[in-house]
Protein backbone atom coordinates (compact mmCIF):
# COMPACT_ATOMS: atom_id res chain seq x y z
CA UNK A 1 0.00 0.00 0.00
CA UNK A 2 2.64 2.49 1.08
CA UNK A 3 4.86 1.19 -1.66
CA UNK A 4 2.07 1.68 -4.22
CA UNK A 5 1.61 5.19 -2.93
CA UNK A 6 5.29 5.87 -3.17
CA UNK A 7 5.41 4.56 -6.70
CA UNK A 8 2.49 6.75 -7.62
CA UNK A 9 4.00 9.72 -5.79
CA UNK A 10 5.54 11.31 -8.83
CA UNK A 11 2.34 10.87 -10.81
CA UNK A 12 0.43 12.50 -7.97
CA UNK A 13 2.98 15.30 -8.09
CA UNK A 14 2.25 15.82 -11.78
CA UNK A 15 -1.47 15.93 -11.09
CA UNK A 16 -0.95 18.45 -8.29
CA UNK A 17 1.13 20.63 -10.57
CA UNK A 18 -1.58 20.54 -13.22
CA UNK A 19 -4.29 21.35 -10.66
CA UNK A 20 -2.20 24.21 -9.27
CA UNK A 21 -1.72 25.85 -12.64
CA UNK A 22 -5.33 25.28 -13.60
CA UNK A 23 -6.40 27.20 -10.50
CA UNK A 24 -3.78 29.90 -10.89
CA UNK A 25 -4.28 30.38 -14.61
CA UNK A 26 -7.96 29.58 -15.09
CA UNK A 27 -8.24 31.30 -18.45
CA UNK A 28 -5.22 30.02 -20.22
CA UNK A 29 -3.65 26.93 -18.75
CA UNK A 30 -6.08 24.10 -19.33
CA UNK A 31 -6.96 25.07 -22.88
CA UNK A 32 -6.55 22.79 -25.85
CA UNK A 33 -4.28 25.33 -27.49
CA UNK A 34 -1.95 25.64 -24.51
CA UNK A 35 -1.73 21.90 -23.95
CA UNK A 36 -0.95 21.41 -27.61
CA UNK A 37 1.73 24.07 -27.30
CA UNK A 38 3.22 22.29 -24.33
CA UNK A 39 3.19 18.99 -26.17
CA UNK A 40 5.12 20.56 -29.02
CA UNK A 41 7.52 22.38 -26.70
CA UNK A 42 8.51 19.20 -24.93
CA UNK A 43 8.55 16.95 -27.99
CA UNK A 44 12.32 17.24 -28.55
CA UNK A 45 13.18 16.70 -24.91
CA UNK A 46 10.75 13.79 -24.86
CA UNK A 47 12.45 12.05 -27.78
CA UNK A 48 15.88 12.45 -26.20
CA UNK A 49 14.55 11.26 -22.86
CA UNK A 50 12.92 8.17 -24.38
CA UNK A 51 16.15 7.39 -26.19
CA UNK A 52 18.08 7.92 -22.96
CA UNK A 53 15.72 5.54 -21.18
CA UNK A 54 16.95 2.72 -23.42
CA UNK A 55 20.51 2.93 -22.14
CA UNK A 56 19.52 3.83 -18.61
CA UNK A 57 17.56 0.57 -18.43
CA UNK A 58 21.00 -1.05 -18.49
CA UNK A 59 22.06 1.44 -15.78
CA UNK A 60 24.26 3.08 -18.40
CA UNK A 61 24.32 6.75 -19.32
CA UNK A 62 24.78 8.71 -22.48
CA UNK A 63 26.12 12.17 -21.84
CA UNK A 64 26.73 12.72 -25.54
CA UNK A 65 23.07 12.89 -26.65
CA UNK A 66 23.09 16.68 -26.72
CA UNK A 67 26.22 16.79 -28.88
CA UNK A 68 24.84 14.12 -31.18
CA UNK A 69 21.63 16.11 -31.57
CA UNK A 70 23.60 19.22 -32.48
CA UNK A 71 25.83 17.28 -34.84
CA UNK A 72 22.86 15.68 -36.61
CA UNK A 73 21.26 19.10 -37.12
CA UNK A 74 24.50 20.52 -38.46
CA UNK A 75 25.04 17.61 -40.83
CA UNK A 76 21.58 18.05 -42.31
CA UNK A 77 22.02 21.81 -42.61
CA UNK A 78 25.41 21.50 -44.27
CA UNK A 79 23.89 19.13 -46.82
CA UNK A 80 21.09 21.62 -47.36
CA UNK A 81 23.61 24.33 -48.14
CA UNK A 82 25.14 21.91 -50.64
CA UNK A 83 21.68 21.74 -52.27
CA UNK A 84 21.04 18.12 -51.40
CA UNK A 85 17.43 16.98 -51.19
CA UNK A 86 15.72 16.94 -47.81
CA UNK A 87 15.39 13.15 -47.64
CA UNK A 88 19.10 12.67 -48.20
CA UNK A 89 20.04 15.20 -45.55
CA UNK A 90 17.67 13.59 -43.08
CA UNK A 91 18.97 10.10 -43.77
CA UNK A 92 22.55 11.31 -43.47
CA UNK A 93 21.81 13.03 -40.16
CA UNK A 94 20.16 9.90 -38.78
CA UNK A 95 23.09 7.82 -39.97
CA UNK A 96 25.46 10.14 -38.14
CA UNK A 97 23.40 9.64 -34.98
CA UNK A 98 23.54 5.87 -35.31
CA UNK A 99 27.25 6.01 -36.00
CA UNK A 100 27.84 8.21 -32.98
CA UNK A 101 25.83 5.75 -30.91
CA UNK A 102 27.80 2.82 -32.27
CA UNK A 103 31.05 4.53 -31.32
CA UNK A 104 29.70 5.02 -27.79
CA UNK A 105 28.59 1.40 -27.79
CA UNK A 106 31.99 0.11 -28.85
CA UNK A 107 33.73 2.17 -26.19
CA UNK A 108 31.38 1.00 -23.47
CA UNK A 109 30.50 -2.55 -24.47
CA UNK A 110 33.60 -3.74 -26.29
CA UNK A 111 36.41 -1.74 -24.72
CA UNK A 112 34.73 -1.75 -21.33
CA UNK A 113 35.05 1.97 -20.57
CA UNK A 114 32.63 3.36 -17.99
CA UNK A 115 29.73 4.97 -19.86
CA UNK A 116 30.17 8.18 -17.95
CA UNK A 117 33.78 8.58 -19.13
CA UNK A 118 33.24 7.26 -22.62
CA UNK A 119 30.33 9.53 -23.40
CA UNK A 120 31.97 12.47 -21.65
CA UNK A 121 34.80 12.01 -24.14
CA UNK A 122 32.53 11.62 -27.14
CA UNK A 123 30.45 14.59 -25.97
CA UNK A 124 33.58 16.68 -26.52
CA UNK A 125 34.43 14.99 -29.79
CA UNK A 126 30.97 15.24 -31.35
CA UNK A 127 30.62 18.81 -30.22
CA UNK A 128 34.04 19.61 -31.72
CA UNK A 129 32.96 17.90 -34.92
CA UNK A 130 29.76 19.94 -35.07
CA UNK A 131 31.76 23.14 -34.71
CA UNK A 132 34.31 21.98 -37.22
CA UNK A 133 31.83 20.95 -39.91
CA UNK A 134 29.83 24.13 -39.58
CA UNK A 135 32.94 26.23 -39.12
CA UNK A 136 31.32 27.37 -35.92
CA UNK A 137 28.55 29.19 -37.74
CA UNK A 138 24.82 29.06 -37.32
CA UNK A 139 23.28 27.88 -40.59
CA UNK A 140 19.90 29.44 -41.29
CA UNK A 141 17.76 31.48 -43.59
CA UNK A 142 17.53 30.51 -47.23
CA UNK A 143 19.83 27.56 -46.67
CA UNK A 144 17.14 25.67 -44.82
CA UNK A 145 14.50 24.36 -47.25
CA UNK A 146 10.89 25.20 -46.53
CA UNK A 147 9.96 21.55 -46.75
CA UNK A 148 12.18 20.87 -43.75
CA UNK A 149 11.30 23.76 -41.50
CA UNK A 150 7.60 23.45 -42.15
CA UNK A 151 7.50 20.04 -40.55
CA UNK A 152 7.77 21.69 -37.17
CA UNK A 153 4.90 24.04 -37.92
CA UNK A 154 2.46 21.63 -39.44
CA UNK A 155 0.03 19.30 -37.83
CA UNK A 156 -3.05 17.18 -38.23
CA UNK A 157 -6.22 19.21 -37.85
CA UNK A 158 -8.42 18.21 -34.94
CA UNK A 159 -11.54 19.84 -36.41
CA UNK A 160 -13.04 16.44 -37.05
CA UNK A 161 -12.86 15.45 -33.36
CA UNK A 162 -14.46 18.63 -32.15
CA UNK A 163 -11.51 20.93 -31.48
CA UNK A 164 -12.15 23.59 -34.07
CA UNK A 165 -9.06 25.42 -35.21
CA UNK A 166 -6.69 23.26 -33.22
CA UNK A 167 -4.27 20.88 -34.84
CA UNK A 168 -2.05 18.19 -33.39
CA UNK A 169 1.52 19.11 -34.34
CA UNK A 170 3.61 16.65 -36.33
CA UNK A 171 6.30 17.11 -33.68
CA UNK A 172 3.95 15.83 -31.01
CA UNK A 173 2.90 12.92 -33.16
CA UNK A 174 6.51 12.02 -33.84
CA UNK A 175 7.30 12.08 -30.13
CA UNK A 176 4.32 9.80 -29.46
CA UNK A 177 5.49 7.40 -32.14
CA UNK A 178 8.96 7.29 -30.57
CA UNK A 179 7.32 6.68 -27.20
CA UNK A 180 5.28 3.82 -28.60
CA UNK A 181 8.31 2.22 -30.22
CA UNK A 182 10.44 2.54 -27.10
CA UNK A 183 7.64 1.30 -24.86
CA UNK A 184 6.93 -1.80 -26.95
CA UNK A 185 10.63 -2.50 -27.31
CA UNK A 186 11.41 -2.25 -23.63
CA UNK A 187 8.31 -3.87 -22.17
CA UNK A 188 7.22 -6.40 -24.74
CA UNK A 189 10.17 -7.70 -26.69
CA UNK A 190 12.84 -10.17 -25.76
CA UNK A 191 15.37 -7.51 -26.68
CA UNK A 192 13.99 -5.08 -24.12
CA UNK A 193 13.67 -7.66 -21.38
CA UNK A 194 17.32 -8.57 -21.87
CA UNK A 195 18.29 -4.93 -21.53
CA UNK A 196 16.54 -4.95 -18.14
CA UNK A 197 18.40 -8.13 -17.28
CA UNK A 198 21.70 -6.42 -18.03
CA UNK A 199 20.68 -3.47 -15.91
CA UNK A 200 19.62 -5.65 -13.01
CA UNK A 201 22.62 -7.92 -12.97
CA UNK A 202 24.98 -7.82 -15.93
CA UNK A 203 27.08 -10.70 -14.62
CA UNK A 204 24.05 -12.95 -14.18
CA UNK A 205 22.86 -12.06 -17.66
CA UNK A 206 26.26 -12.86 -19.12
CA UNK A 207 26.49 -16.18 -17.28
CA UNK A 208 23.01 -17.04 -18.53
CA UNK A 209 24.16 -16.57 -22.11
CA UNK A 210 22.71 -13.12 -22.85
CA UNK A 211 24.91 -11.43 -25.47
CA UNK A 212 25.67 -8.50 -23.23
CA UNK A 213 28.17 -6.82 -25.54
CA UNK A 214 26.05 -6.86 -28.58
CA UNK A 215 22.96 -5.69 -26.71
CA UNK A 216 24.74 -2.82 -25.04
CA UNK A 217 26.29 -1.74 -28.28
CA UNK A 218 22.98 -1.79 -30.11
CA UNK A 219 21.20 0.03 -27.29
CA UNK A 220 23.71 2.86 -27.54
CA UNK A 221 23.10 2.93 -31.30
CA UNK A 222 19.37 3.30 -30.65
CA UNK A 223 20.02 6.15 -28.27
CA UNK A 224 22.20 7.81 -30.91
CA UNK A 225 19.41 7.46 -33.43
CA UNK A 226 16.95 9.02 -30.99
CA UNK A 227 19.32 11.91 -30.33
CA UNK A 228 19.62 12.51 -34.08
CA UNK A 229 15.84 12.52 -34.47
CA UNK A 230 15.60 15.11 -31.70
CA UNK A 231 18.39 17.14 -33.30
CA UNK A 232 16.48 17.24 -36.58
CA UNK A 233 13.28 18.21 -34.78
CA UNK A 234 15.13 21.02 -33.07
CA UNK A 235 16.67 22.20 -36.33
CA UNK A 236 13.28 22.12 -37.97
CA UNK A 237 11.69 24.04 -35.12
CA UNK A 238 14.27 26.83 -35.12
CA UNK A 239 14.72 26.58 -38.91
CA UNK A 240 18.43 26.66 -38.38
CA UNK A 241 21.30 24.63 -37.06
CA UNK A 242 23.89 25.69 -34.58
CA UNK A 243 26.68 23.56 -33.16
CA UNK A 244 25.55 24.08 -29.58
CA UNK A 245 21.83 23.88 -29.88
CA UNK A 246 21.33 20.40 -28.46
CA UNK A 247 23.56 21.00 -25.44
CA UNK A 248 20.72 21.78 -23.04
CA UNK A 249 18.88 18.54 -23.75
CA UNK A 250 21.22 16.13 -21.99
CA UNK A 251 20.82 17.12 -18.35
CA UNK A 252 17.06 17.64 -18.75
CA UNK A 253 16.66 14.24 -20.37
CA UNK A 254 18.56 12.56 -17.56
CA UNK A 255 16.50 14.47 -15.00
CA UNK A 256 13.31 13.30 -16.72
CA UNK A 257 14.39 9.66 -16.66
CA UNK A 258 15.36 9.95 -13.00
CA UNK A 259 12.01 11.48 -12.16
CA UNK A 260 10.42 8.53 -13.92
CA UNK A 261 12.61 6.05 -12.06
CA UNK A 262 10.98 7.07 -8.82
CA UNK A 263 7.93 5.23 -10.12
CA UNK A 264 9.61 1.88 -10.79
CA UNK A 265 9.18 -0.85 -8.22
CA UNK A 266 12.90 -1.55 -8.10
CA UNK A 267 13.74 1.98 -9.20
CA UNK A 268 14.11 0.92 -12.81
CA UNK A 269 13.44 3.30 -15.69
CA UNK A 270 10.34 2.76 -17.83
CA UNK A 271 9.24 4.52 -20.99
CA UNK A 272 5.86 5.71 -19.67
CA UNK A 273 7.43 6.86 -16.42
CA UNK A 274 9.93 8.91 -18.38
CA UNK A 275 6.98 10.55 -20.10
CA UNK A 276 5.69 11.63 -16.68
CA UNK A 277 9.13 13.10 -15.94
CA UNK A 278 9.18 15.00 -19.21
CA UNK A 279 5.67 16.30 -18.61
CA UNK A 280 6.59 17.57 -15.16
CA UNK A 281 9.57 19.50 -16.50
CA UNK A 282 7.67 20.85 -19.51
CA UNK A 283 4.55 21.86 -17.64
CA UNK A 284 6.53 23.59 -14.90
CA UNK A 285 8.34 25.61 -17.55
CA UNK A 286 5.13 26.56 -19.30
CA UNK A 287 3.08 27.32 -16.22
CA UNK A 288 5.74 29.22 -14.32
CA UNK A 289 6.43 31.38 -17.37
CA UNK A 290 2.75 32.14 -17.64
CA UNK A 291 2.72 33.04 -13.98
CA UNK A 292 5.58 35.44 -14.72
CA UNK A 293 7.91 33.81 -12.26
CA UNK A 294 11.41 35.22 -12.64
CA UNK A 295 13.50 32.85 -14.77
CA UNK A 296 16.11 32.42 -12.06
CA UNK A 297 13.53 31.61 -9.46
CA UNK A 298 11.96 29.23 -11.96
CA UNK A 299 15.27 27.46 -12.31
CA UNK A 300 15.59 27.06 -8.55
CA UNK A 301 12.01 25.86 -8.27
CA UNK A 302 12.45 23.19 -10.92
CA UNK A 303 15.60 21.91 -9.21
CA UNK A 304 13.82 21.82 -5.88
CA UNK A 305 10.83 19.96 -7.27
CA UNK A 306 12.99 17.31 -8.94
CA UNK A 307 14.84 16.75 -5.68
CA UNK A 308 11.65 16.71 -3.65
CA UNK A 309 10.10 14.09 -5.92
CA UNK A 310 13.12 11.84 -5.77
CA UNK A 311 13.55 12.37 -2.03
CA UNK A 312 9.93 11.49 -1.28
CA UNK A 313 10.23 8.30 -3.24
CA UNK A 314 13.53 7.27 -1.72
CA UNK A 315 12.36 7.88 1.82
CA UNK A 316 9.40 5.62 1.18
CA UNK A 317 11.69 3.03 -0.28
CA UNK A 318 13.94 2.74 2.72
CA UNK A 319 11.21 2.55 5.31
Amino acid sequence: MISQLRQAGTLIGLVLIVVFFTVQLPETFLTARNLINVSQQISMLAVVAFAMTVVMVMTDFDLSVGSMASLAGIVAAVLFTADQPVWLAVVAALAVGVLGGVVNGVLVAVLGILPFVATLGTLTIYSGAAFWISDGKTIFGRDIPKGFSEFARGGVSLDAVGFAGVSLPYMTILALVVLAVVWVTLEHTTYGRRLYAIGGNAEAARLAGVRVRWLRLSAFAITGLGAAVAGLMYASRVASANPTQGAGLMLDAIAAVFLGMTMGKEGEPRALATLVGVLILGILDNGLTQMKVDSYVREMLVGTIVIAAVATSSIGRRA
Partner: protein, 282 residues
Protein backbone atom coordinates in the same frame (compact mmCIF):
# COMPACT_ATOMS: atom_id res chain seq x y z
CA UNK B 1 -0.58 46.62 -20.86
CA UNK B 2 1.58 43.58 -20.50
CA UNK B 3 4.80 43.11 -22.44
CA UNK B 4 6.96 39.97 -22.55
CA UNK B 5 10.69 40.41 -23.16
CA UNK B 6 12.22 37.13 -24.26
CA UNK B 7 15.95 36.60 -24.65
CA UNK B 8 18.39 33.70 -24.51
CA UNK B 9 21.25 36.07 -23.63
CA UNK B 10 20.35 37.79 -20.39
CA UNK B 11 23.72 36.85 -18.93
CA UNK B 12 25.40 39.20 -21.43
CA UNK B 13 26.07 42.63 -19.94
CA UNK B 14 24.86 44.40 -23.11
CA UNK B 15 21.57 42.55 -23.06
CA UNK B 16 21.17 43.35 -19.39
CA UNK B 17 21.74 47.04 -20.08
CA UNK B 18 19.08 47.40 -22.73
CA UNK B 19 16.62 45.15 -21.00
CA UNK B 20 17.02 47.30 -17.92
CA UNK B 21 16.60 50.50 -19.90
CA UNK B 22 13.52 49.00 -21.48
CA UNK B 23 12.10 48.09 -18.08
CA UNK B 24 12.74 51.55 -16.69
CA UNK B 25 11.10 53.18 -19.62
CA UNK B 26 8.20 50.74 -19.44
CA UNK B 27 7.70 51.51 -15.77
CA UNK B 28 7.12 55.18 -16.57
CA UNK B 29 4.57 54.10 -19.12
CA UNK B 30 2.84 51.87 -16.59
CA UNK B 31 3.39 48.57 -18.38
CA UNK B 32 3.79 45.25 -16.73
CA UNK B 33 7.01 43.67 -18.07
CA UNK B 34 7.82 39.96 -17.89
CA UNK B 35 11.49 39.32 -18.67
CA UNK B 36 12.20 35.71 -19.67
CA UNK B 37 15.67 34.27 -20.08
CA UNK B 38 16.05 30.89 -21.80
CA UNK B 39 19.78 30.61 -21.06
CA UNK B 40 20.91 30.12 -24.62
CA UNK B 41 18.16 27.74 -25.70
CA UNK B 42 16.64 28.87 -29.02
CA UNK B 43 13.79 26.39 -29.15
CA UNK B 44 12.82 27.55 -25.68
CA UNK B 45 12.49 31.08 -27.05
CA UNK B 46 9.81 29.77 -29.40
CA UNK B 47 8.17 27.94 -26.52
CA UNK B 48 8.13 31.05 -24.37
CA UNK B 49 6.74 33.16 -27.22
CA UNK B 50 3.94 30.62 -27.48
CA UNK B 51 3.36 30.84 -23.74
CA UNK B 52 3.25 34.64 -23.94
CA UNK B 53 0.71 34.41 -26.74
CA UNK B 54 -1.38 32.03 -24.65
CA UNK B 55 -1.24 34.59 -21.89
CA UNK B 56 -2.49 37.19 -24.37
CA UNK B 57 0.22 39.76 -23.71
CA UNK B 58 -0.09 42.99 -25.62
CA UNK B 59 3.37 42.97 -27.18
CA UNK B 60 6.46 40.78 -27.28
CA UNK B 61 10.04 41.97 -27.48
CA UNK B 62 12.60 39.44 -28.69
CA UNK B 63 16.37 39.47 -28.69
CA UNK B 64 17.24 36.64 -31.13
CA UNK B 65 17.64 36.23 -34.83
CA UNK B 66 14.07 36.07 -36.16
CA UNK B 67 15.00 33.35 -38.67
CA UNK B 68 15.48 30.95 -35.75
CA UNK B 69 12.17 31.64 -34.10
CA UNK B 70 9.86 31.81 -37.10
CA UNK B 71 7.46 29.33 -35.56
CA UNK B 72 6.98 31.57 -32.54
CA UNK B 73 6.71 34.75 -34.59
CA UNK B 74 4.03 33.13 -36.72
CA UNK B 75 2.04 32.17 -33.62
CA UNK B 76 2.22 35.77 -32.42
CA UNK B 77 1.27 37.11 -35.85
CA UNK B 78 -1.72 34.75 -35.99
CA UNK B 79 -2.84 36.08 -32.61
CA UNK B 80 -2.30 39.64 -33.79
CA UNK B 81 0.34 40.39 -31.16
CA UNK B 82 3.11 42.71 -32.36
CA UNK B 83 6.71 41.54 -31.96
CA UNK B 84 9.48 44.10 -31.67
CA UNK B 85 13.14 43.20 -32.20
CA UNK B 86 15.65 44.49 -29.69
CA UNK B 87 19.09 43.90 -31.17
CA UNK B 88 17.56 41.03 -33.12
CA UNK B 89 17.36 41.04 -36.93
CA UNK B 90 15.09 42.17 -39.73
CA UNK B 91 12.12 40.02 -40.62
CA UNK B 92 8.69 40.50 -42.17
CA UNK B 93 7.07 39.27 -38.96
CA UNK B 94 8.93 41.78 -36.80
CA UNK B 95 7.49 45.25 -36.53
CA UNK B 96 10.90 46.79 -36.39
CA UNK B 97 14.34 45.88 -35.11
CA UNK B 98 16.18 48.33 -32.90
CA UNK B 99 19.92 47.74 -33.02
CA UNK B 100 23.42 49.05 -33.57
CA UNK B 101 25.10 48.69 -36.91
CA UNK B 102 27.41 45.74 -36.29
CA UNK B 103 29.16 46.02 -39.63
CA UNK B 104 30.03 49.64 -39.06
CA UNK B 105 31.21 48.96 -35.51
CA UNK B 106 33.56 46.21 -36.58
CA UNK B 107 34.90 48.34 -39.40
CA UNK B 108 35.63 51.16 -37.01
CA UNK B 109 37.63 49.12 -34.50
CA UNK B 110 39.58 47.18 -37.10
CA UNK B 111 40.49 50.34 -38.98
CA UNK B 112 41.52 51.85 -35.64
CA UNK B 113 43.91 48.93 -35.15
CA UNK B 114 45.26 49.12 -38.70
CA UNK B 115 45.96 52.80 -38.34
CA UNK B 116 47.54 52.50 -34.89
CA UNK B 117 50.03 49.89 -36.09
CA UNK B 118 50.62 51.77 -39.29
CA UNK B 119 49.37 49.03 -41.51
CA UNK B 120 51.93 46.41 -40.58
CA UNK B 121 52.48 43.71 -37.99
CA UNK B 122 50.91 40.59 -36.55
CA UNK B 123 47.38 40.70 -35.19
CA UNK B 124 45.68 38.18 -32.90
CA UNK B 125 41.91 37.95 -33.43
CA UNK B 126 39.33 36.70 -30.92
CA UNK B 127 36.13 35.70 -32.68
CA UNK B 128 32.96 33.74 -32.04
CA UNK B 129 31.25 32.58 -35.21
CA UNK B 130 28.50 30.55 -33.57
CA UNK B 131 26.62 33.70 -32.62
CA UNK B 132 25.50 35.56 -35.79
CA UNK B 133 25.82 39.16 -34.52
CA UNK B 134 29.39 38.48 -33.39
CA UNK B 135 30.19 36.46 -36.50
CA UNK B 136 29.57 39.46 -38.81
CA UNK B 137 32.08 41.48 -36.79
CA UNK B 138 34.75 38.91 -37.54
CA UNK B 139 33.90 38.89 -41.23
CA UNK B 140 34.29 42.65 -41.49
CA UNK B 141 37.56 42.64 -39.56
CA UNK B 142 38.90 39.82 -41.76
CA UNK B 143 38.17 41.88 -44.85
CA UNK B 144 39.80 44.99 -43.52
CA UNK B 145 42.97 43.27 -42.28
CA UNK B 146 43.21 41.42 -45.60
CA UNK B 147 43.24 44.74 -47.34
CA UNK B 148 46.52 45.72 -45.63
CA UNK B 149 49.29 43.68 -47.28
CA UNK B 150 51.66 43.99 -44.30
CA UNK B 151 49.19 42.95 -41.67
CA UNK B 152 49.32 39.26 -40.83
CA UNK B 153 46.61 37.57 -38.78
CA UNK B 154 48.66 35.48 -36.38
CA UNK B 155 45.79 33.44 -34.95
CA UNK B 156 42.00 33.50 -35.07
CA UNK B 157 40.98 32.20 -31.66
CA UNK B 158 37.52 31.07 -30.54
CA UNK B 159 37.65 31.12 -26.73
CA UNK B 160 35.47 29.00 -24.50
CA UNK B 161 32.64 31.34 -23.53
CA UNK B 162 30.98 29.15 -20.93
CA UNK B 163 32.66 31.15 -18.19
CA UNK B 164 31.99 34.53 -19.81
CA UNK B 165 35.19 34.41 -21.83
CA UNK B 166 37.78 36.25 -19.76
CA UNK B 167 39.59 33.35 -18.15
CA UNK B 168 39.86 31.14 -21.20
CA UNK B 169 40.86 34.07 -23.44
CA UNK B 170 43.58 34.88 -20.97
CA UNK B 171 44.87 31.32 -21.03
CA UNK B 172 44.81 31.34 -24.83
CA UNK B 173 46.62 34.68 -24.99
CA UNK B 174 49.24 33.45 -22.55
CA UNK B 175 49.91 30.57 -24.90
CA UNK B 176 50.20 32.92 -27.87
CA UNK B 177 52.58 35.16 -25.95
CA UNK B 178 54.65 32.17 -24.98
CA UNK B 179 54.80 31.07 -28.61
CA UNK B 180 55.89 34.55 -29.71
CA UNK B 181 58.42 35.63 -27.11
CA UNK B 182 60.32 38.31 -29.07
CA UNK B 183 59.31 41.82 -28.05
CA UNK B 184 57.30 43.48 -30.80
CA UNK B 185 56.37 40.23 -32.47
CA UNK B 186 52.70 40.87 -31.72
CA UNK B 187 51.38 44.23 -32.84
CA UNK B 188 47.74 44.09 -31.84
CA UNK B 189 44.83 42.14 -30.44
CA UNK B 190 41.45 42.57 -32.08
CA UNK B 191 38.57 41.13 -30.08
CA UNK B 192 35.01 40.84 -31.33
CA UNK B 193 33.74 41.68 -27.85
CA UNK B 194 35.23 42.97 -24.63
CA UNK B 195 35.80 39.88 -22.51
CA UNK B 196 38.59 38.43 -24.69
CA UNK B 197 40.18 41.87 -24.87
CA UNK B 198 40.21 41.98 -21.06
CA UNK B 199 41.63 38.46 -20.90
CA UNK B 200 44.35 39.40 -23.39
CA UNK B 201 45.16 42.50 -21.38
CA UNK B 202 45.56 40.43 -18.20
CA UNK B 203 47.82 38.01 -20.04
CA UNK B 204 50.02 40.79 -21.39
CA UNK B 205 50.27 42.41 -17.97
CA UNK B 206 51.08 39.11 -16.30
CA UNK B 207 53.77 38.40 -18.87
CA UNK B 208 55.33 41.77 -18.19
CA UNK B 209 54.99 42.76 -21.83
CA UNK B 210 52.95 45.92 -21.41
CA UNK B 211 55.87 47.95 -22.70
CA UNK B 212 55.81 46.51 -26.19
CA UNK B 213 52.97 48.67 -27.33
CA UNK B 214 50.57 45.86 -28.16
CA UNK B 215 47.31 47.53 -29.15
CA UNK B 216 44.14 45.92 -27.83
CA UNK B 217 40.66 46.77 -29.01
CA UNK B 218 37.36 45.32 -27.94
CA UNK B 219 33.75 45.94 -28.66
CA UNK B 220 30.65 46.90 -26.62
CA UNK B 221 32.56 49.11 -24.18
CA UNK B 222 31.24 47.39 -21.10
CA UNK B 223 32.08 49.10 -17.80
CA UNK B 224 35.00 46.79 -17.05
CA UNK B 225 36.45 47.62 -20.48
CA UNK B 226 35.88 51.32 -19.94
CA UNK B 227 37.82 51.11 -16.69
CA UNK B 228 40.69 49.44 -18.47
CA UNK B 229 40.68 51.94 -21.32
CA UNK B 230 40.52 54.87 -18.91
CA UNK B 231 43.68 53.61 -17.19
CA UNK B 232 45.56 54.21 -20.43
CA UNK B 233 47.18 50.80 -20.82
CA UNK B 234 47.30 48.51 -23.81
CA UNK B 235 43.53 48.30 -24.04
CA UNK B 236 42.98 51.38 -26.17
CA UNK B 237 39.55 51.32 -27.69
CA UNK B 238 36.14 49.74 -27.80
CA UNK B 239 32.86 50.57 -29.48
CA UNK B 240 30.10 51.79 -27.25
CA UNK B 241 26.69 50.73 -28.31
CA UNK B 242 24.06 52.93 -26.82
CA UNK B 243 22.34 50.18 -24.88
CA UNK B 244 20.18 52.57 -22.98
CA UNK B 245 19.24 54.15 -26.26
CA UNK B 246 18.35 50.75 -27.70
CA UNK B 247 16.21 49.92 -24.71
CA UNK B 248 14.42 53.27 -24.84
CA UNK B 249 13.94 53.11 -28.61
CA UNK B 250 12.56 49.60 -28.28
CA UNK B 251 10.11 50.81 -25.66
CA UNK B 252 9.07 53.67 -27.92
CA UNK B 253 8.61 51.27 -30.84
CA UNK B 254 6.60 48.96 -28.62
CA UNK B 255 4.33 51.79 -27.58
CA UNK B 256 3.74 52.74 -31.20
CA UNK B 257 3.11 49.14 -32.21
CA UNK B 258 0.57 48.66 -29.42
CA UNK B 259 -1.12 51.86 -30.53
CA UNK B 260 -1.36 50.27 -33.99
CA UNK B 261 0.76 53.01 -35.53
CA UNK B 262 2.55 52.04 -38.70
CA UNK B 263 6.35 51.83 -38.47
CA UNK B 264 7.91 52.08 -41.89
CA UNK B 265 11.53 51.07 -41.45
CA UNK B 266 12.18 47.45 -40.57
CA UNK B 267 15.48 48.43 -38.91
CA UNK B 268 16.20 51.32 -36.60
CA UNK B 269 19.90 51.99 -35.97
CA UNK B 270 20.93 53.61 -32.73
CA UNK B 271 24.24 55.51 -33.04
CA UNK B 272 27.46 54.03 -31.67
CA UNK B 273 30.59 55.76 -30.34
CA UNK B 274 34.25 54.80 -30.36
CA UNK B 275 35.44 54.84 -26.77
CA UNK B 276 39.10 55.74 -26.15
CA UNK B 277 40.96 57.10 -23.16
CA UNK B 278 39.62 60.54 -24.02
CA UNK B 279 35.97 59.66 -23.44
CA UNK B 280 36.18 56.50 -21.38
CA UNK B 281 35.25 57.93 -17.98
CA UNK B 282 31.92 56.26 -17.26
Amino acid sequence: ETVAVITPFLAQPGTQAYVQAFQEDAATRGWEVNVIDTAGDMAAVISRIEDAVTQKVDAIVVNVDPAQVQAGLQTAADAGIPVIGMDAGADPLIVTNITSNGYAMAAETSVYVANRIEGKGKVVMFVFDAFPPVQIRGVVADAIFANFPDIEVLDRITPDVQDGGIADSRAKMEAVLAANPEPGSIAAVWAAWDQPALGALQAIEAAGRTGEGIVIVGMDANPQARDAIAQGGNFEASMAQDFVGIGKAAAEATARAMAKEEIKSKVTYVPTVLVTKANAAP
